[in-house]
Symmetry: C2
Subunit: 417 residues, 2 copies
Amino acid sequence: MKIEILCTGDEILTGKTVNTNHSYIARRFTDNALQITRGTTVGDDRESLLAAFQQASVRADAVIVNGGLGPTVDDLSQEVAAHAAGVELELYQPWLEKLKKYYESRGRQMPENNTKQAMLPVGCEFIDNPVGTACGFAVTINNARFFFTPGVPHEMRRMINEEILPRILKLSGLTVVTRLKRFHSFGIGESRADQLLRGIEDLAPDNSVKLGFQSHFPQLETKLAAIGKDEETLNATLAPLEARIRQSMGNFILCEDNQTLESEILKALGEVSGTLATIEMTTGGLISQRLNTDQSGSVVCSIVSQNIQQLAQASGLERATLDISSAAEIAIALRRQSASSHSLVSLMVPDEADDSRDFGADVYIALSSPESTVTRKSRLTGGRKWITLGATEMSLDCLRRYLLDLPVDEKIDFEQH
Amino acid sequence: MKIEILCTGDEILTGKTVNTNHSYIARRFTDNALQITRGTTVGDDRESLLAAFQQASVRADAVIVNGGLGPTVDDLSQEVAAHAAGVELELYQPWLEKLKKYYESRGRQMPENNTKQAMLPVGCEFIDNPVGTACGFAVTINNARFFFTPGVPHEMRRMINEEILPRILKLSGLTVVTRLKRFHSFGIGESRADQLLRGIEDLAPDNSVKLGFQSHFPQLETKLAAIGKDEETLNATLAPLEARIRQSMGNFILCEDNQTLESEILKALGEVSGTLATIEMTTGGLISQRLNTDQSGSVVCSIVSQNIQQLAQASGLERATLDISSAAEIAIALRRQSASSHSLVSLMVPDEADDSRDFGADVYIALSSPESTVTRKSRLTGGRKWITLGATEMSLDCLRRYLLDLPVDEKIDFEQH
């Protein structure tokens, strides 16, 4: 089945807005074993839109059109869709009623403009938008079924997942139960993960699972896209592959599916009713920022500086040196100073050199609780931005490992051995 | 002149990578008064590529092709370009020599694969890549001149700016001197800026300047894209428009061109040989992160917490309350505690409610130096993410204003009045 994505709008065409809608739609389809064959972007211009609709209509089986459903004169999708399908536009009364109620509920009268959003091609299939004023619809033009979606990302996402994907899966004749199983890891590069997991797809029958990777440096996402006749089949199909991944990637797996490294840390901290204070040097506040999304109050204080004496003083020490034993001393002092049960100290000492691919840093990490104080020392290279992200991730990963009683000193692919 | 952008590669087509190359290329062209008429994305597939080349070749005057110039078998751009142009590929010896030297200089032998990167269509125009192994080239197919660029962003950017834009400007017959003047502001929304500056383009002769906006919430970028016969003409043309923008947007202008709010703050701090300590509550470490990109050492310490008592204690106070006078007390104490000349305290107190568009926060900001201590109180609404970014920007902007002796309490469009 050939599926195209057609994004409309001057803002995207001219680069004012980066087209994240294409990548979201394409990813959701690919995750469901559907193939995207082309992406097109055109501006808010009748002639270009019509040409793009007509060209796609003879090339593809399904076309997802994104954008151009708004109330203003430069929103042309319904009009051009009707033209291309050879039909008129007509008022879809139920949507007009819904728009009026939407405005009423906010104590406003619906602007006359918005009536346009209830004008749909005669004979089209209405597609609901529960979170916005632009409804979707589907029409057939030549060989292809066209699905129209709003440009506002959260409205588009909901419509794609709840309305369009099920319809396309049905059209495609694929078994309609699909699942995307995800593992998030830190410390194994994409090419090594690819080697480690080679052949894993053969553990599932009939090409029913596809292995994929997505790098979000420094994390790697390992994905299993599975199709099967029902949920039970999926469970049975995926079980041996999941087991193999857990075995191969071991402690490097941070979490699965919608969990995050931060949520794992905060959960583990919550389980021991712990509180945390952090100190970081030269990682630019990234550790603090990652953990301070928490609203539980278990992260009590984060201190950021580029100056080791400031950090020593902030933790209640007279002075400190830049080495691993000093990191441990600061971690112990910080717990006392902040009255927290746990502390994380991350000291990154960048090279005194210009930024380049060889630019590196020594990293001294210390973790402390009433039970123990442990340290991790590492050398990272790869440029300033890269090592800053790497040192941040390594510090947070060490904290996760410490809280879960896992070894904090397993070597990762990104450090010097 | 009709210009299309054609991006190739499975990673972009399937959404694994967000297509930032399209937006970069489109923006650079638009900034130079050139118009993009279509964007296309196809995968690493001979048939799709050839069809896309042929279709674009009869529609456009120029086509920028991005990607597919690598050494592996799925990099097909040269091969398909030659096919579409009806010519063979031939070895371009100078590039092969350069590749060999590049590898030698790194103490490695060039892999045989890379020879492929020196195979170019017969009769094409070679385009240099000073920072990578994929050279560019240009060929004519039907009505259009095709320019081939590498997919690696920093290589593409350099080739677009140094090699391709000048060629296209020449092809377009436009006067080849262009300039993009940029103003970065905080506190004025895009629609109000549009109103304030309406008609400003008329101050320049013959449509030689185009006004544009780009929102990077919470900052707004106001752009003047100018064309003229030489640099002097551009200076004269732009002067009255720049003056009008500075007058209309006043103190809300943070900086111009490549400057940033952070660089302005650090410059102003440097001019008084000042040092800075910061405390932030509930903004998740964003203030700390923004300022800690500095490597001059003038930001001595940043403390982040969600707990006002922790912050009070960290600044050397016994305890504190959540109000504007407490923010001022903390700012004064923090200077003493950290031995810094300046301090910034930003306390955001979010509503006790679920996140929604009406979700808001009270913001208490205090700035202190040996000369004075000033405060700013505000109420922001618009959802948790929005207000967190807004409070961060407002805090940094207040610091800039304080350092530059500008009023810190000018109302902004995003706060409740």
